[in-house]
């Protein structure tokens, strides 16, 4: 009997690992598309050439200063959003949770509105640190509100605290925007979520935040599995619930804050990718998190490529394309599969 279960379990693991490899290959393919495709047609052979030898030609400039940074940013942001979503859903034990619930999106947006309206900053690279700081402050506020009292931050309280803080922030944001059309005009293009105008310069300063967030998230997989069993069982199993929650929220804030700072708010990736991943992997976070890390960028970079070619020479913002690519798949999966609660 034991032998049989061990056997099926190892087959399952082998299947999961194989799936992970296939997805990695798919990700590599999408990245290649991201470098190859764009509004300027560059043949694959010369793309390949200038990729390794930056000869200073126009094609080389396009590939090295536009397409490679975008693809790298897509990798980081996609992974960050999907992992933050998975983490958030596990922490709150609510499959509808998305990282924005912590107030991260509203905080970032409020800070960007302040940057445009009160400090007169324009241009996406100027918003980066405002968005990042705003996200962080909002998340701390939500956590403080959600965790006051003796029993600490339970999932329901965090969700309600996040909803309350976000509502107040959005009220302030729209009060400013409706009274100040010039700020609104800048903000509406930031608020869609887009890679446009993001270049190599913003990657190095944000990279540490992405990396720390990703490592921290992966390290939390085991305690998150324990938390899924409910607080009491998790405590009985020896998991540190409070510590896991605090670390998890720090990770969500780092990942999501950096992602919002980099390309603006893109909500659908964080919500849908972990959900779709769980349909493949089941609830084990040790698989959910790595799969999310790969599927997030596939969706984001794939959507970006599509947005570049679908409406040439104009491009469609990645935040819009992501929803139109991801949502039908999401709906189809929800119809086909048994609906799982966390």
């Amino acid at each position: 009997m034991v032998g049989v279960t061990n056997h099926t379990r190892s087959t399952f693991r082998a299947g999961q690992a194989l799936g992970l490899l296939v997805s990695l290959a798919a990700l590599a393919f999408v990245c290649a598309l991201g470098i190859w495709f764009g509004s300027k047609d560059i043949p694959f052979a010369s793309t390949w050439d200038v990729l390794w030898h930056n000869d200073g030609s126009r094609d080389a400039v396009i590939i090295h200063t536009v397409r490679i940074p975008r693809t790298l940013l897509g990798l980081l942001v996609g992974a960050a959003l999907a992992m933050a979503g998975a983490l958030m859903q596990a922490l709150t034990r609510n499959p509808l949770a998305e990282p924005g619930l912590l107030g991260v999106g509203a905080g970032g947006a409020a800070a960007v509105v302040a940057a445009i309206g009160f400090f007169g900053i324009s241009g996406v690279s100027g918003y980066v640190w405002f968005a990042f700081a705003g996200s962080g402050i909002a998340a701390v506020l939500v956590y403080m509100l959600g965790s006051s009292g003796r029993s600490g931050a339970t999932p329901d309280r965090l969700i309600m605290a996040g909803a309350a803080v976000s509502a107040v922030l959005y009220a302030l944001i729209y009060a400013v925007l409706l009274l100040d059309p010039i700020t609104f005009n800048e903000f509406r293009f930031w608020n869609v979520g887009s890679f446009t105008g993001r270049d190599m310069d913003i990657i190095p300063p944000l990279l540490p935040f992405f990396l720390i967030g990703i490592v921290l998230t992966l390290a939390l997989a085991r305690p998150l599995n324990a938390i899924a069993l409910g607080d009491q069982t998790a405590t009985a199993l020896g998991a540190h619930i409070g510590r896991t929650r605090v670390l998890g929220i720090i990770a969500v804030t780092l990942l999501c804050g950096a992602a919002t700072a980099a390309i603006g708010p893109v909500t659908f990736v964080g919500l849908a990718v972990p959900y779709m991943v769980r349909l493949i992997t089941g609830p084990d976070q040790r698989w959910v998190l790595p799969y999310s890390m790969i599927f997030g960028p596939i969706l984001l970079i794939g959507s970006d490529v599509l947005g570049r070619v679908i409406n040439e020479p104009q491009e469609l913002q990645v935040g819009i394309v992501t929803a139109f690519v991801g949502a039908p798949v999401f709906i189809w999966l929800c119809r086909r599969r048994r609906v799982t609660k966390l």
């Binding site: 609510n94 499959p95 509808l96 949770a97 509100l145 959600g146 965790s147 006051s148 009292g149 003796r150 029993s151 329901d156 309280r157 969700i159 309600m160 605290a161 909803a163 309350a164 803080v165 976000s166 509502a167 107040v168 959005y170 009220a171 302030l172 729209y174 009060a175 925007l177 409706l178 009274l179 059309p181 609104f184 005009n185 509406r188 293009f189 608020n191 869609v192 909500t267 659908f268 919500l271 849908a272 959900y275 469609l316 913002q317 935040g319 819009i320 394309v321 992501t322 929803a323 139109f324 991801g326 949502a327 039908p328 999401f330 709906i331 929800c334 119809r335 609906v339 609660k341």
Partner: protein, 349 residues
């Protein structure tokens, strides 16, 4: 998480128990207090403004014997706006209470699961693509909301509609519609984009009888269903099998409740835009002030009306030189109040 909390209050029997209802004393008292507050705010809103009137003058005007010049202000400006605020707030509150309980999720408000997003897409299309007037926008919102909700229901239908699948499909649809709205806003002229953003925040500026009348009829038709069928929500929450064993026709009950919730949200949105946060917060606030774990449609509806009325008074009087839409105040007031309630509740436990 819910079964043990389904029944509260003391039974009230009339005629040797042939007719009996459960009466939750605290909830009833709270509802009466909320109703009184709504009436008080209504009197305040009718009597104050750039043209102050006494309460008796207002009543006389409504009866057709008021001071000269008051008729237009009372009957054409203040009264429709007051009624619109109460009815829209009530519609959102009831709609949110039903949907949150049906999906057993505090996030399951019509805001989040796509019904209002569909209405927004309809309205934004009218604003951006045709530049239509206020009634055309309301029509667009109604059409968008209905088409979206039918689509979501059909997509979620698979040997019956499971509440959770409905929410998920709604989320998928609303993500797409949100993207479509963003597309419209980024591709519109700045003027249209601001109009679209203001509509999305939700407001009551300039709402007249042509808005109030259909809204009132719809509420009159829908509220009895909401109140009657809400009693079965407690049984539905025990799970489909248990509910069937207890003699509830699960599928048809759920269908009616979903339709009532959607219709209320759709008509409210058509009139005032998807006013932020009312449908989500009203049941949550009502739950905390009535002390019952699942607020009924009446307490949630009253809370919604109260929230929207107070917010509308705030935007009219506190910041009177600008015509900010009321959705900004509902977000700020509702959010702060919910935060305060949460903080208080958290400290106690």
């Amino acid at each position: 998480m819910s079964v043990s909390t389904a029944v509260r209050g003391r039974p009230l029997r009339i005629g040797q128990g042939r007719l009996s209802i459960r009466l939750d004393i605290r909830a009833t008292v709270t509802c009466v207090v909320m109703l009184a507050t709504v009436v008080g705010l209504a009197v305040f809103s009718m009597t104050t403004g750039d043209y102050p009137l006494s309460a008796s003058e207002v009543v006389a005007t409504i009866l057709g014997a008021g001071p000269p010049g008051a008729e237009f202000i009372v009957l054409e400006l203040r009264l429709p706006r007051l009624l619109a605020a109460i009815l829209v707030g009530g519609a959102f509150g009831v709609s949110g209470a039903i949907m949150q309980r049906l999906t057993d999720n505090p996030l399951g408000s019509p805001d989040i699961i796509g019904f209002t997003m569909g209405a927004a897409t309809g309205a934004l299309s009218v604003i951006v693509l045709t530049g239509g007037g206020m009634l055309a926008v309301a029509g667009g919102a109604l059409a968008g909301g209905i088409v979206t909700s039918v689509l979501i229901y059909l997509l979620a239908f698979k040997q019956g509609v499971q509440g959770f699948r409905l929410v998920l499909i709604g989320i998928g649809m609303s993500a797409m519609l949100y993207a479509a709205n963003q597309f419209l806003i980024t591709h519109a002229s700045l003027r249209d984009a601001i109009a679209a953003a203001a509509w999305q925040v939700g407001g009551l500026n300039g709402r007249g009888w042509e808005h109030v009348e259909p809204l009132a009829w719809a509420m009159l038709a829908l509220l009895p269903f909401a109140v009657f069928f809400s009693h079965r929500l407690a049984i539905l929450q025990m799970g489909d099998d248990a509910a069937k064993a207890l003699g509830v026709r699960v599928e048809s009950t759920r269908f009616v409740l979903i339709m009532v919730s959607v219709a209320l949200a759709a008509i409210g949105t058509a009139v005032a835009g998807p006013i932020a946060f009312v449908a989500l917060a009203s049941p949550q606030i009502a739950r905390r002030v009535t002390g019952s774990p699942y607020p009924g449609p009446i307490s949630a509806g009253l809370m919604g009306a109260l929230l929207l009325l107070a917010s509308d008074l705030t935007v009219q009087h506190a910041i009177s030189d600008t015509q900010l839409p009321v959705g900004i105040a509902t977000g700020a007031i509702g959010g702060l109040y919910l935060a305060w309630l949460l903080a208080r509740e958290f400290r106690r436990r």
